[in-house]
């Protein structure tokens, strides 16, 4: 990857990890999200988030999903106790 691409990737992976922990009860000790992986707890949570927010459920960090996660929102979780 060109350096900035890797950095950007790093950013979005951190963003998604924090977002899912805060709003979708992703367990904090979950292994960092690897973009290429197409299964595992983080991918499941991405699917859950995409479904709840009315996005196409791909399980992948596509542009729409990243854009949605960057939008201003309420701090109350979307699922959970």
């Amino acid at each position: 990857y060109p350096a900035d691409r890797a950095a950007e990737d790093e950013d979005s992976m951190e963003l998604v990890q924090q977002y899912l922990e805060k709003y979708y009860k992703l367990a904090k000790e979950t292994k960092p999200f690897v973009r290429r992986r197409d299964h595992g707890p983080v991918v499941e949570k991405i699917r859950e988030m995409q479904k709840f927010l009315g996005l196409e459920v791909t399980g992948k960090l596509d542009t729409d999903t990243l854009e949605m996660m960057r939008k201003p929102r309420c701090g109350v979780p979307d699922v959970g106790d």
């Binding site: 479904k51 927010l53 949605m68 939008k71 309420c74 109350v76 106790d81």
Partner: protein, 378 residues
């Protein structure tokens, strides 16, 4: 819509609110009116009323803060989190906090305070987030909202009314008496030969026959059934139910409408409901239940959907494998679709339109054909 787990809600209809401090982005009266307008949105569709306190305790305390503000949920600077609020309850519960690192505005040039306040106060009243993008309770802020035409979505109204019912005196929810309702034009007639039921269930030895917004309550000790508004016993229940059954081992009646179900014990609606029927193990293809009956010997519940049925093991709390099965196969003589069903005296009673079948599950045959209204002393 969803409510918070455990369905916390205010046990009173008159609530106090207090604006603890103000953002410097707006004149104080603009903040006051934004909060007032946001509360009136919810007041219009519920029996709730609000009054402002200028000192001391209040049910809903509203404040502006930045970063860490003492509730273990720090704000994050400009953008991202705009605010948060806590479900009904004492102390911090019911309170709404707004991130003062946002640029709060009267219009949508910045972050519109009225819109965010209306959302957060929805949480203060007991609503969790909605997956309906057109709903106020959808978690993501929509800067493109047309404020001049803003209204609560039906999803928001259904959500808040599932907690508090509709405003008293409104056409769809008259102040419901607890004594029985006299039949008249616009109410179903017990002895109408064409009478059909939405749902039927036992309840502590009585039998409840649900129809539209009403139900007949038949005790085996009295001849005449009572006739009531559903909302006079259970304000949070919807009308036009699809199915109902009593799990006598739990002293609980479960009531179904669409893809949700509620639980009541006596007149007490149980916390944590409505739940989705998917939690019982139904596939996504099942959008609603036609009828349900609980067999107290077997401790199993039969759910009827179209020409099929499922069986749910109440002890294991799971749908049994090998279902759905065809109704016609295991209940010969019972034709789909079943409107309502219940079990009594070891027989299953199936209602379909104006007729009712008494079915002997041991002999596996229909033993009587009756009019649906036969229990109502017609």
């Amino acid at each position: 819509f969803t409510t918070f787990p455990g369905m916390p809600k205010w046990r009173k209809t008159h609530l106090t609110y207090r604006i603890i401090n103000y953002t410097l982005d707006l004149p104080r009266d603009a903040v006051d009116s934004a909060i007032e307008k946001a509360l009136s949105l919810w007041q219009e569709v519920t029996p709730l009323t609000f009054s402002r306190a200028d000192e001391g305790e209040a049910d809903i305390k509203i404040s502006f803060a930045v970063r860490d503000h003492g509730d273990f949920s720090p704000f994050d600077g400009p953008g991202n989190v705009l605010g948060h609020a806590y479900p009904p309850g004492p102390g911090i519960f019911g309170d709404a906090h707004f991130d003062d690192d946002e640029q709060w505005t009267r219009d949508t040039s910045g972050t519109n305070l009225f819109l965010v306040a209306a959302h957060e106060l929805g949480h203060s009243l007991g609503l969790f987030h909605s997956a309906d993008p057109s709903a106020l309770m959808y978690p993501v802020y929509r800067a493109d909202t047309d404020l001049s035409r803003f209204r609560l979505s039906q999803d928001d109204v259904d959500g808040i009314q599932s907690l508090y019912g509709s405003p008293p005196g409104s056409p769809d929810d008259p102040v419901a008496p607890t004594e029985s309702v006299t039949s008249g034009p616009g109410t179903p007639a017990a002895c109408d030969p064409a009478l059909s039921f939405d749902a039927v269930s036992t309840l502590r030895g009585e039998i409840l026959f649900f129809k539209d917004r009403y139900f007949w309550r038949k005790s085996l000790r009295t001849l005449e059934p009572g006739f009531y508004l559903i909302s006079s016993f259970w304000p949070s229940l919807p009308s036009g139910l699809d199915a109902a059954y009593e799990d006598t081992s739990k002293d609980t009646v479960f009531l179904f409408k669409g893809n949700q179900f509620w639980a009541v014990r006596g007149t007490e609606a149980q916390a944590g409901y409505p739940k989705g029927i998917r939690t019982l193990g139904f596939p996504a293809t099942v959008g609603k239940i036609d009828a349900a009956l609980f067999d107290k010997e077997k401790k199993k519940t039969y759910f009827f959907v179209g020409d099929k049925y499922w069986r749910f093991d109440e002890k294991r709390q799971s749908m049994e494998p090998g279902f759905p099965r065809q109704i016609a196969e295991d209940f010969p003589g019972v034709d789909p679709k079943v409107d309502a069903a219940f079990e009594a005296f070891g027989f299953y009673y199936f209602f379909s339109g104006p007729s009712q079948l008494e079915f002997d599950p041991n002999a596996r045959k229909v033993t009587h054909t009756l009019a649906s209204g036969s229990w109502l002393n017609c």
